[in-house]
Symmetry: C2
Subunit: 426 residues, 2 copies
């Protein structure tokens, strides 16, 4: 029965029942954390062998004769470029291999466009007035943090089941001061949505400034769960076809494939963007860590090796998602107080509680012993206008911890809704 259809007495009764459960939980004095998308110990253990493949007995010259332990090869070992290209699903000649962080590559790229422009002869964004980015929301807090730090105004746009609301996006992109959009196009953080073919094509072909850039953060490109796999169009291809070949730059890393912090990041771009970006990096560094690039090549060998490994990770992560989703389904379905994503991959579940209740749910969980991602973190400037969205990160805790944490989350979601309904239903 929907809460909204309950009488005051029924609500009161339900509230007391939930409060009882809440205090029972709290009395257990647990300290659980569902706040950040971190790999679990099990995931790390699956890849420890990568630490062994390069050692003092190994050859440190590639087949082409590149010495991986000396300077040189500033845009990445060819073998690693190929591996990253296959993971992203683009030709190797479009790829630049960076350090350990795709976030850094995105930050650098936006800083480059801001300070020097999107290409040779382009006016720096910083010289054009109050430049703006379209930010599909809920989205990734660290994307928003880059914009805010560099001084790019953020305009939130609603996420739908097929990606950002494209009517809103197209209308905004006509403003010549709107310079870009941040997208996590596959298993989006946090909604789990994969952009539809129509969304990708509209992004590639819509009217926008010449120096408008799609920051295509394909962070979860091969991060399938449940044995299911969403399909995503190749954005670089679609931009090419639409006559906007330089519009998108794609980013990816192995942070959630191999090791978080010791992975490999890469970007893919068309020839013009790539030449411009490579020049930037040729001024910034003599080259990234080729030893770690080579470790990845020796350990995974090829895309098939990576996919086999991703299956092992899915075997660890999928049950965690199931624990959370099963609890949400069995406890919250039909109450009319919450909706949540059922993603086929990625790292997050997005929970929308009754509008105006997210902060209360967060605080109830915090006091009860479960840390959630800060409310509002998934929106530009930390401001969720509906105070409704909660990002659940199920990967790090154990199955038992997740079951406990979700139990509290469910109770808190009910409690917050009941409080609100009791307030209004006098």
């Amino acid at each position: 029965m929907k809460y909204a259809e309950m009488s005051r007495a029924e609500l009161k009764n339900e509230y007391e029942q939930c409060l009882h459960e809440y205090y029972n939980f709290k009395a257990r004095n647990l300290q659980l954390d569902m706040s950040r998308g971190k790999p679990s110990e099990g995931q790390i253990q699956e890849v420890l062998g990568m630490l062994d493949v390069l050692n003092s007995k190994s050859s440190y010259k590639t087949e082409e004769g590149i010495n991986i332990l000396n300077y040189g090869c500033p845009d990445g070992l060819p073998e690693c470029k190929k591996l990253m290209a296959d993971i992203i699903g683009v030709p190797a000649e479009k790829v630049f291999v960076g350090g350990n962080s795709s976030l850094s590559l995105m930050f650098d790229y936006i800083m480059l466009c801001y300070a020097k422009g999107t290409g040779y002869g382009a006016e720096p964004w910083s010289k054009q007035g109050e430049v703006k980015f379209i930010c599909p929301s809920p989205g990734y807090d660290r994307h928003f943090a880059i914009c805010e730090y560099i001084g790019i105004k953020m305009i939130p746009v609603d996420m739908t089941a097929t990606g950002p609301d494209m009517d809103q996006v197209e209308a905004l992109a006509r403003d010549p001061l709107v310079k870009g959009i941040f997208c996590v196009p596959k298993y989006s953080n946090p909604t789990g949505v994969t952009y539809s073919d129509e969304t990708v094509r509209r992004l590639a072909s819509m009217k926008a400034a010449d120096d408008f850039r799609i920051i295509w953060d394909n962070a979860y490109c091969i991060h399938d769960l449940f044995g299911r796999e969403d399909k995503l169009l190749d954005m670089l291809d679609e931009c090419e076809k639409a006559g906007n070949p330089s519009r998108a730059v794609e980013f990816c890393s192995t942070s959630k494939i191999s090791l978080s912090g010791s992975g490999i990041a890469a970007l893919a771009a068309n020839a013009d963007n790539l030449a411009y970006i490579k020049e930037f990096y040729s001024k910034m560094t003599i080259g990234y860590d080729k030893a770690n690039q080579y470790r990845h090549v020796l350990y995974f060998k090829d895309l098939a090796g990576v996919k086999k490994h991703m299956q092992l990770l899915s075997d660890i992560i999928t049950p965690r998602f199931e624990v959370v989703l099963n609890a949400l389904r069995s406890e919250l379905s039909g109450l009319g107080i919450a909706e949540w994503s059922e993603p086929n991959g990625g790292y997050f579940i997005s929970l929308d509680v009754m509008p105006g209740c997210a902060t209360r749910v967060y605080n109830l969980c915090k006091e009860g012993g479960v840390k959630l991602t800060n409310v509002g973190a998934t929106y530009p400037y930390g401001n969720d206008p509906k105070d409704s969205n909660i990002r659940i990160a199920p990967t790090f805790p154990s199955l038992e911890e997740l079951a406990d944490a979700t139990e509290l989350l469910v109770i808190s979601t009910k409690l917050a809704a009941l409080e609100k309904l009791l307030e209004t239903k006098n």
Copy 2:
């Protein structure tokens, strides 16, 4: 006998003798390279054990419980921070540990000052008009490349035996649009000079804009050779004492201690600068590669371990410097056509040939089979006004190759001088 004192006949005779030697050398069809400061194979082999210390059987938690294979610890593992601090010679709390490249840390810092200013409330350099940097010359080409790329005008200042000409520096620093200076204060690239105490103190205390920054690239801080050791004052301390506590930021890396490309970079700064820089990196990355930081800690253990290793490297590098220096001394002394540095450490020997002859020497060497660093590379905008400086990088070639390459360099230096003297002495 000085060439300048020779009669035309003597010059002619000497010229023919040198030309004969030159063609003999050229006939050997060698392909040698003294152009870049790269470690040799022997140096790499001394540190291969670092690839073994972290493996699938190792603990990947530090004593404090930090998981080095997961996210976290964005300003560096405490153990690594301590190690880098000891190498630089500053307290650990002044240190931020970055990726594999100190050049990147410098680039980032200058980009930060340019786009956002040197601190909270400071006007970005980019908004202040045509900002300028003082560039002691000859200097490091990649420093100059950063300035040129970001759009900072470079003003060359002469290097002396005690560092940059401080009278020139002090006069220039009074211009409020002069925003900084690039320094390699110990075993300077390429002159090998270590800044005197007086130079350091004058830099720290001179009148300059509040947002003037000394980029203190202490790249060769423990890179002693010949069993000798230059002493350098602590620039951060001197700035503090002079009442300009935020004036300098210090940079360093293990690129020429452990592995080039797979080393660790760090910076040191006072509390204000460090907080500002840390905020920048907190937006750019979730953290650098802690596995590689831990490898350095496990392998070297402490400063004593690093110094022991540097002695092994000195045993490899010192004879290479000796080969070059002995040849220069025995072949060029007393001719009045060349001067060169006799450094106590670092990676380079700086050779000043007769003014107007460096390009000719470079071309003669190139045609004879020896690649030198591009002439002019050691000056801003690639412009050596005297066409005189040649940077010799003795570390990479073998002793035999160095002996050969220096032989050609000496012959070419004589030939170019003789050509010039014969032109003028009619």
